[in-house]
């Protein structure tokens, strides 16, 4: 009889870094879960979720544009604080929100801005002495401003993704006079992407369930290429079928959608408040610079 001691070394020998295919499928699975979690988050009764989608989209765009025009780190820090406050008021956990913002856009822009903080790129009074790579005051100030600007804008944009359902976003775009055919195409594209991601995940799980060894890199590569071709083929076939389904329900090339409701007075008040806040921030920013 084979004992546990006989099996353990063999099992240990098989443990190695997951293959590219495995990691891709895992990532796809995580993305699907995120899409579904976002739907749940966006359906909550938070502050932003209660505002009419079109007004919400306009307000968030206004904040993002303002963040990109501000120059003072203090103004930008205030914008980031506003994003965090809006997140909290919209039942988004501030910690997850900040982790997501800093973990994606934050780290990326810090890496990009870091060289600009050194004496090599921005001469000036030395703040931290590190030889040729000494950090200068204007360099650090510039880098911090850039980082805060990107993080504030990204944080506000992330609020759209987290607090607005895809349907609401499409509805808002439609109300903002984006052509119906583009809105419908976006709706179908998103649905198809989720559907195809599910297919890819299932293909991978089906393979995993029938596979004992991880396989060689070449085998994995061949398998991934084969499955990519399958998914492309499936996507083309599905597109044809979806088009047939549209024709069957009377589509003749012109997309007709229901006219949307107009925003309520309260929603427009929020937009006015957002506009006033942004104007005040701009004025303070200019004042701080003088």
């Amino acid at each position: 009889m084979t004992g546990e001691h006989d099996i353990a070394p063999a099992r240990q020998a098989r443990i190695r870094r997951p293959s590219l295919a495995h990691r891709t499928a895992w990532g796809i699975g995580r993305n699907i879960a995120e899409v579904l979690a976002n739907e749940e988050l966006a359906a909550r009764q938070g502050f932003l979720q209660r505002i009419e989608p079109r007004v919400r989209l306009l307000a968030v765009l206004l904040f993002a544009v303002t963040a990109s025009l501000l120059h003072s780190p203090w103004s930008l820090a205030a914008m980031l604080a506003l994003a965090a406050t809006l997140a909290a008021a919209s039942q988004v956990r501030v910690r997850s929100f900040m982790r997501k913002v800093w973990g994606s856009a934050g780290i990326f822009v810090i890496l990009l801005a870091a060289p600009a903080a050194t004496r090599l790129v921005t001469p000036g009074r030395v703040l931290v002495s590190l030889g040729a790579l000494s950090l200068t005051v204007p360099g650090v100030l510039g880098a911090v401003t850039l980082v805060l600007r990107v993080v504030a804008a990204a944080g506000i944009a992330l609020l759209i993704v987290w607090t607005m359902r895809w349907n609401d976003l499409l509805s808002a775009l439609s109300q903002l006079r984006l052509p119906d055919v583009i809105v419908a195409t976006l709706a179908m594209a998103q649905k198809q992407i989720v559907s195809l991601m599910r297919t890819v995940e299932q293909i991978h799980l089906a393979r995993e369930s029938r596979t004992l060894s991880a396989g060689t890199t070449a085998e994995n590569r061949d398998w991934v290429i084969g499955r990519m071709a399958f998914v492309v083929h499936k996507s083309v076939r599905t597109a044809d079928e979806v088009y047939d389904a549209m024709l069957a329900r009377g589509f003749d090339g012109t997309m007709r959608l229901l006219p949307r409701d107009r925003g309520r007075a309260r929603d427009w008040f929020y937009l006015l408040a957002a506009l006033t806040f942004c104007a005040a921030m701009m004025a303070l920013d200019r004042g701080a610079l003088r």
């Binding site: 739907e39 349907n167 559907s195 047939d244 389904a245 069957a248 329900r249």
Partner: protein, 282 residues
């Protein structure tokens, strides 16, 4: 209304015709030398409940697509409500609108049919494309959602729905068009037992309204439950049997030959149901 071929057709008088569809010597092939339907002669009466049975790949779905004007015969003729159903005829906006408002198609895969951003838009899509005013569209959506008990799903994105919920929304998306003929491709696929019962109840309701239903399936239980008449397609893409469900399902040898039942299947006297008992060969 004048057809592109010069003939005059008025589909609004459809009920005056004894038959919804007439197919004479219809053949269809997607690629040369690879037929999907061969020499089909078929008349489908107004208000009739027809089941098209056949194994996978026998041409059931293609036949439904022909009846919905999504593909066209390579040979033979097809008329719908007394008018030729051709690609040229469907180019005419008036004919197309009349035809699409009379014939609804529920696709096999609900995922294909649900392409809008939420269930409400799915239900509203058909009536909107037919040019109905927004208030009437909203009224129809509310009515169908209530009758199918899907009111709570209306603001959900299709990809967040379960298989049974998707099927309900897909059926609802066609019912809002209030078609006279309902085409359904393998409607009970992926339905759990409770949803299957619900589906049969929907069809029963439909039957009472006097409208036509044409269903393709290899589920013989569905045929027994709802069909006035059934036809059987074999793997050579021809109609090999036609009659009442009792007449067709009693032809055991034929059903075996067309791969609709297994040799271990049998019918119970009285209930008339065909089913299979698993057993082991000793």
């Amino acid at each position: 209304m004048t057809q592109p071929n010069g003939g005059s057709v008025d589909l609004s008088r459809a009920h005056a015709h004894a038959a919804d569809f007439v197919l004479s010597g219809v053949c269809q092939q997607y690629r040369p030398g690879v037929p999907s339907l061969v020499d089909i002669d078929l008349t489908i009466g107004c208000g009739e409940h027809l089941v098209i049975a056949g194994a996978n790949g026998s041409g059931k779905s293609t036949l439904l697509k022909l009846l919905d004007g999504l593909v066209f015969p390579s040979a033979g003729t097809l008329t719908a409500f007394g008018a030729p159903l051709t690609e040229a005829a469907l180019e005419d906006p008036v004919f197309r609108r009349e035809f699409r408002s009379r014939v609804g198609f529920v696709f096999q895969e609900a995922d294909v049919q649900l392409f809008c951003s939420n269930a409400f838009d799915e239900l509203a899509f058909g009536p909107l494309q037919l040019g109905l005013p927004p208030d009437e569209v909203r009224e129809r959506v509310a009515e169908v959602a209530h009758s199918l008990r899907i009111e709570k799903l209306l603001d959900r994105a299709p990809y967040t729905l379960s298989g049974g919920e998707k099927k309900r929304v897909a059926i609802g998306s066609v019912l809002t068009m209030r078609p006279h003929v309902l085409l359904m491709d393998e409607p009970t696929n992926a339905l759990d037992p409770r949803s299957q019962v619900w589906f049969l109840e929907v069809l029963d309701e439909w039957k009472r309204n006097g409208d036509s239903v044409i269903i393709s399936t290899h589920d013989l239980t569905v045929a027994e439950e709802i069909a006035d008449r059934m036809i059987v397609l074999d793997e050579g893409h021809r109609v090999v049997a036609e009659g009442t469900p009792d007449e067709v399902l009693s032809q055991r040898e034929l059903l075996l030959k067309v791969n609709l039942i297994h040799e271990h299947a049998h019918r119970h006297a009285g209930s008339g149901r065909t089913h299979t008992h698993p057993h082991a060969h000793m």
